[in-house]
């Protein structure tokens, strides 16, 4: 599935990124590149800086040093809303849905930047506003079908079970028609069945929708099964990058997760 390294220009490139909060080094010299159609995973122990990396990619944090390029253009220091507009969508480790709104409204908010009408048209609800609402609603229904959310679509997401909320969040990111999808722990806290469902959705997104994905995940089974390449970070420092098989046997990775071997 994965495109061979270097055969096409990368979707996202991080070059020697350093991010620190006062004295704490959250990200320390991470470089990575994600190719079109690739499922790239970032793993590491708690506090390794995985989510910080996501926040750098989506513009929440500005790294002190290094370069971030999306589709060949630097997005360093751009506002999160601008980076989102360029086609980077993300989900959150702790679900960040608009909890009082329905599933459909959450998906429609994912399409916000694609819906092109202004407040004046909204007040009248004639012509353009109504036509575009219907048009984009149809697009959202496709996502509802894709993620099998049909029975929930008119419920406020705050009332939905956890696993479904995770799915809605994925749907909201998909509604943005992203060129790159960042998934922050998509199966955290899920049972086996829900994890299997989510794995299937993630594979479908990559294969059918052809969206490259970066995934942060603690479920090693899932990462090893799904990912094309894996980056291991520990205390903000990159340990190694490689295929799941390479990474699994890497001595540094074993040490980071299991500690030193007793002598």
């Amino acid at each position: 599935m994965s495109v061979a390294n270097g055969s096409a220009s990368p979707v996202l490139e991080l070059d020697d990124v350093h991010l620190s909060f006062a004295g704490v080094k959250a990200v320390n010299g991470v470089s990575l590149h994600v190719d079109p159609g690739e499922l790239f995973a970032i793993i590491g122990p708690n506090g390794a800086g995985k989510t910080s990396l996501f926040n750098v990619m989506s513009g929440v944090y500005r790294p002190q040093q290094g370069a971030v390029r999306f589709l060949g253009e630097s997005v360093l220091g751009a506002k999160p809303s601008k980076i989102a507009a360029r086609g980077v969508a993300r989900t959150f480790q702790n679900i960040a849905l608009f909890e009082h709104l329905t599933v459909i409204d959450n998906l429609m908010l994912g399409r916000h930047q694609h819906i092109g009408y202004g407040p004046a048209s909204a007040i009248l609800w004639r012509g353009r506003a109504r036509r575009l609402e219907v048009e984009h609603r149809r697009h959202c229904e496709e996502i509802v079908d894709f993620l099998e959310l049909g029975s929930w679509r008119h419920l406020p997401v705050g009332l939905l079970p956890y696993g479904v909320q995770k799915r809605v969040e994925l749907g909201r990111a998909l509604a943005m028609e992203p060129k790159l999808l960042l998934l922050d722990e998509p199966v955290a806290g899920m049972n086996l069945e829900e994890t299997e469902d989510m794995a299937r959705f993630v594979l479908d997104i990559r294969d059918e929708l052809d969206v490259p994905i970066i995934m942060v995940e603690h479920d090693m089974g899932l990462v090893m099964d799904l990912a094309d390449r894996v980056l291991v970070v520990d205390f903000g420092t990159p340990v190694t990058t490689g295929t799941p098989a390479e990474v699994q046997t890497h001595p540094e990775v074993v040490r980071a997760y299991l500690g030193e071997e007793a002598t």
Partner: protein, 399 residues
């Protein structure tokens, strides 16, 4: 995706392929035996998407107009005032209920609107500023726009602060406004004196002047004018609420960080919320004193702000119908107490010099209601309505 269809399918779990907008025929043909089945997204996105809603709203509107023939002029005047306050509350509902930005400064924007309208429409010969343009279609939008400009000026503060801090800053606005209104006597007439309000003249017809040949009284005319305006403003508010704009407001309220990740520009969205909200406040301000004809700079105080907030909270934050219900309820409270409660409870005096009197009862009820609603029904009157509706939908079963 196995889902049992509910008895009514207004929820739109329709597996039927939606009609294209051009396919008008699909709008008319209904599934046999399933008259409520939605077959297009347009049907589902309709403002009054069910038969019962259409009938319900029609009945409320007809009754609203019919009340002119039922109630005395006194009560009609209070109701007209309540309608105008409802417009102001709809504005606050946009910034606080939808966008989640607590604003205590609504009285300030109402004041701006009131003085803009009064100045434009005022008599050029009078001792206060006036330009003599009495046409309402000029001074009403102008009052809203000037207030909206002030809303945009204040908005940068709102984009940097949130919650309690924003509430305190907007509270400061009210005191600033009160001071300026009191001192700028060439515009406002000065404290304790006041000035005459804008003239409600539309295309030459003066609503505040019922000539001897008119078949309606002045209060009936004003009541109808305010009712129509409230309906217009409510429809616009509802359209904003269900559109892209309202959704982005709600997104900022629920999760501002996630909203940014959807490509929503937070400062711009908050500024728009303040502008729209102040526009409503300004229009309400312009209209508010056309009913009494005269107003004092002391009117735009913190109490007015709190009153509008109470309307939104008691009615149900974030909803248009709830806010209107809350506004009518809060604004009519004094009338209700005076006409219904006081005559039946003889120990309550109508004289301010005795205790307990109706004015004290009003104040106590007012405070009590806010506390009771926040404790027992935070979703307000709208929440009560939802519970009532759900109960009767499933009656006689409990689920």
């Amino acid at each position: 995706m196995s889902t049992t269809l509910p008895p009514k399918t207004e929820d739109g779990s329709s597996p039927v392929a939606p009609a294209t907008p051009t396919d008008r025929r699909a709008k008319r043909t209904r599934l046999w035996g399933r008259p409520a089945f939605f077959q297009s997204y347009e049907q589902q996105l309709a403002l009054f998407d069910t038969w019962s809603k259409r009938v319900g709203v029609a009945v409320v509107v007809v009754v609203g107009f019919a009340l002119t023939q039922v109630f005395s002029d006194d009560i009609l005047r209070s109701l007209a005032l309540a309608f105008v306050l409802a417009i102001a509350a709809l504005g606050l509902n946009m910034v606080t209920g939808l966008a989640g930005q607590v604003s205590l400064g609504h009285a300030f924007f109402i004041g701006i609107g009131a003085y803009t309208a009064a100045a434009i429409s005022g008599d050029p010969e009078a001792r206060t500023i006036g330009y003599g343009i009495e046409e309402m279609w000029i001074w009403l939008p102008a009052a809203g726009l000037v207030a909206a400009v002030f809303g945009v000026i204040v908005a940068p503060i709102a984009t940097r602060l949130r919650g309690l801090y924003l509430a305190i800053v907007t509270l400061g606005l009210v005191f600033l406004g009160e001071h300026v209104f009191r001192e700028w006597s060439s515009l406002t007439g000065g404290a304790g004196v006041g000035r005459s309000a804008a003239e409600p003249v539309l295309f030459g017809f003066d609503f505040s002047d019922a000539g001897s040949d008119s078949m309606f009284t002045r209060d009936q005319q004003m009541y109808v004018l305010m009712l129509v305006l409230l309906l217009v403003f409510a429809l616009a508010a509802r359209n904003i609420g269900r559109s892209k704009v309202g959704r982005s407001f709600a997104a900022v309220r629920d999760r501002d960080m996630a909203a940014e990740m959807m490509g929503i520009d937070l400062p711009r969205t908050k500024t728009l919320a303040f502008a729209l909200s102040s526009f409503y406040a300004g229009c309400a301000g312009g209209l508010l004193y056309t009913i009494t004809g005269y107003f004092d700079p002391g009117s735009f105080n913190l109490l007015l702000s709190v009153q509008i907030i109470a309307m939104v909270l008691i009615g149900g934050a974030g909803t248009v119908s709830g806010t209107i219900a809350g506004a009518l309820f809060v604004a009519m409270l004094p009338t209700i107490v005076r006409n219904l409660v006081a005559p039946n409870l003889t120990f309550i005096s109508t004289l301010p010099s005795e205790t307990p009197n109706v004015f004290q009862v009003e104040q106590i009820l007012y405070g009590l209601l806010i506390v009771v609603f926040l404790l027992f029904e935070p979703r307000g009157l709208f929440g009560i309505w939802v519970r009532f509706r759900t109960y009767w939908k499933s009656w006689p079963f409990s689920y």
